[in-house]
């Protein structure tokens, strides 16, 4: 892949596609931040498709530790086997279970590794991975073996900014903040997902959508996925564009919090149903 410019299902802005190119050329992890619903996770999928490489996803949870991504030594299984004599317990290698990072190192061809929502884990988590991501290798203590990446994986990391990431980690990444798409770009995105949308309906729907996003007191702003669901519903429901002038049909798809629903209702600009 020479230059990344999105795929038929993923629209990337110029800045983003340039940044992907930069990260690939410099062989550094690409850290993507942005509001929920700006397509951070989908980017990795799009890159893997554009490159024609396999995608390995490591979903980070609050309990995830760096070690989980490398390997786990299954001591319990070994103890069990030694009690019941089912397998050869002398071969410790049998009880080393590789994690997602280990898997991507051991893969026989280059892969795209997505470390999704890295900020969910403990504050020290990213620091624990510095060496592994830098050198693309780690050491398995129990078997005294060095695991080195056969093909340096393309690493894409996403963060929801729930926590600050450590500086040492940031220094090693290429960083890009995905802006919330503007109207023009959103039109393209909607077209990709909803096919042929009536021009007038799309404009009306986008007007309403961006208007809602601008209302200051809304707690959960509707994002791209909500918009797409909503426009699909409008299409299926056969809503005429005119009806969007003073009402929001299927508003439950856009406003997911009861407080927001009531707030918009009280402001009285729209009839909600």
């Amino acid at each position: 892949m020479e230059n990344f410019s999105g795929t038929s299902e993923y629209i990337a802005s110029e800045g983003l596609s340039r940044t992907v190119d930069i990260a690939l050329a410099l062989k550094k992890p690409l850290l993507i931040k942005g509001e929920p619903g700006t397509g951070k996770t989908m980017l990795a999928d799009a890159v893997s498709k554009a490159m024609g490489k396999k995608l390995i996803i490591w979903n980070i949870k609050s309990t995830t530790k760096a070690q989980d991504g490398l390997y786990i030594y299954d001591t319990v299984q070994r103890l069990y086997d030694s009690q019941f004599g089912e397998n050869d317990v002398k071969d410790i290698g049998r009880y080393i279970k590789y994690g997602k990072l280990g898997e991507s190192f051991l893969s026989s061809e280059r892969v795209v590794l997505l470390i999704d929502e890295i900020d969910k884990a403990d504050i020290e988590f990213p620091n624990d991975l510095l060496w592994e991501l830098d050198k693309m290798e780690f050491f398995v203590n129990e078997t005294k073996t060095q695991i080195r990446a056969k093909h340096r994986p393309v690493v894409i990391i996403t963060s929801n900014a729930e926590k600050e990431l450590p500086d040492a980690f940031l220094r090693r990444c290429i960083f890009y903040y995905i802006d919330f798409p503007d109207k023009k770009m959103m039109e393209e995105i909607v077209r990709v997902h909803c096919g042929n949308v009536d021009e007038f309906l799309l404009h009306q729907a986008l007007d309403t959508f961006y208007h809602l996003r601008e209302v200051k007191d809304i707690q959960k702003k509707p994002a791209t996925s909500e918009l797409i669901d909503w426009i699909r519903a409008l299409q299926i429901g056969g809503i005429r564009p005119k009806e969007l002038d003073d009402a929001i049909p299927y508003s439950g798809l856009l406003l997911k919090k009861e407080e927001d629903f009531r707030f918009i209702q009280k402001k009285g600009n729209y009839g909600l149903f």
């Binding site: 940044t19 001591t75 940031l170 903040y177």
Partner: protein
């Protein structure tokens, strides 16, 4: 080293670019990732050097200043280093021209440009490249693409050196600045920092099953028990809002903080009270501050301990006597024998850490209506501006690492 003064320029102006990142940028330039184009260089140096969206705005400003000074001949103080200049220069597509002549001819107001543009659109019928009046490429007319002109309207195509400024100056990252006072979400993020460190508080009281199994196996099968600290958040929070009167202009800001505090479910305990100007012998449960919905401050205090952190939110602006004398509640029913300042002090010493958040920006503390009382109160406890940055500092202070 190649144009290292760009590096020092960014550092001197508050962007903490590290050596490591700078070397990476050099490597990228060697690989020609900037493609000899200022806009590409803008994206490249941002991706490699800037790691926080809150720094995007500063970066934009610095980049603009640095390269504007270098590219227009009028200001000579910030010369673009020749090597970079050479690097960014477009070697082809440019005819020879008299720069002063072009500047003079094209130094027009934007409206004028637009008007002339429309006129020429009407007049022009065929392709014009390399000329100085018509729309085209590579020329010195203010209209068209990749040519030279100090001001102009770019028509489609790929941005050349000059026009990168449009992209840069138009992108709005101001809202991400950490000194901006906005957004519930940013408040939430700032408050979450009050949790990060709290996993390390407390005694090792919880059985660590994994570690125990590991240790037991390592120990040849005889039991070895491991304990760990519970991962619960030990922080308890007491929030006291000043309500009404001079606080009205900040209502939406405070409501943002209130929602953020309320949405934060990571505190072991959360208590929210209201007061008017200064806390006295009663704390109120609602912003209206009515007696029927109030509690005895001493009783509230009795239920607090050192695991509580206190967050005062108020403009700290009042008449000086309101601090020094008794009473002051707005319903008139308060009869007090302790001064406001003493009440404040009582709350502070009862809690394990207290800070004051002031919606008034720091630079106005010394000069505004509340200058006297602000000074008096900030001698009792640290005061911060109620902004994302201020809240972050306050949180750090509460956790005891500044």
């Amino acid at each position: 080293m190649v144009f290292s003064d760009y590096f020092y320029y960014l550092r001197e102006n508050g962007l903490s670019v590290s050596m490591e990142e700078w070397l990476l940028l050099m490597e990228a330039l060697k690989k020609d990732l900037a493609r000899s184009n200022l806009l590409e260089f803008y994206y490249l140096s941002r991706a490699v050097l800037v790691k926080k969206e809150s720094d995007y705005d500063s970066y934009n400003q610095l980049f603009y200043q640095y390269f504007e000074g270098a590219l227009t001949e009028n200001s000579v103080d910030k010369k673009l280093p020749e090597k970079l200049m050479k690097y960014l220069e477009k070697p082809i597509e440019q005819l020879a021209y008299d720069k002063d002549e072009v500047d003079e001819r094209t130094d027009l107001e934007y409206e004028k440009l637009e008007q002339m543009f429309l006129e020429r659109m009407k007049e022009q019928n065929d392709m014009h490249n390399g000329g100085k009046k018509w729309l085209g490429t590579g020329g010195t007319s203010p209209y068209g693409n990749t040519g030279y002109s100090r001001r102009g309207i770019r028509i489609g195509g790929h941005e050349g050196n000059q026009n990168a400024y449009r992209v840069i100056t138009e992108s709005a990252y101001r809202d991400f600045r950490e000194d901006a006072t906005i957004g519930i979400r940013q408040f939430e993020v700032a408050l979450r920092r009050l949790r990060q460190y709290s996993g390390k508080i407390g005694e090792e009281t919880e059985l660590d099953v994994d570690a125990t199994i590991d240790a037991t196996c390592q120990n040849g099968g005889s039991l070895k028990i491991k304990y760990r600290r519970p991962r619960k958040n030990a922080v308890k929070l007491l929030v006291l809002f000043d309500s009404g009167g001079s606080m009205s202009p900040y209502a939406s800001l405070c409501s943002g903080l209130f929602q953020a505090v309320n949405a934060a479910n990571h505190f072991q305990s959360l208590k929210i009270y209201y007061f008017h100007n200064c806390p006295y012998n009663r704390l109120y449960q609602t912003p209206e501050c009515i007696f029927q919905k109030s509690e005895d401050t001493d009783r509230v205090l009795a239920n607090l301990d050192k695991s509580y952190k206190a967050l005062f939110v108020g403009d700290a602006s009042m008449a000086a006597w309101e601090l020094r004398y008794f009473s002051g509640g707005r319903d008139g029913k308060v009869t007090d024998t302790v001064s406001g300042l003493k009440w404040l002090h009582k709350i502070i010493v009862r809690c394990g850490g207290a800070v004051w958040l002031n919606p008034i920006a720091e630079e106005h503390w010394g000069s505004g209506r509340g200058a006297v009382t602000i000074e008096r109160i900030s001698s009792e406890l640290p005061m911060y501006h109620l902004s994302v940055q201020g809240l972050t500092k306050a949180v750090r202070r509460l956790l005891g690492n500044q």
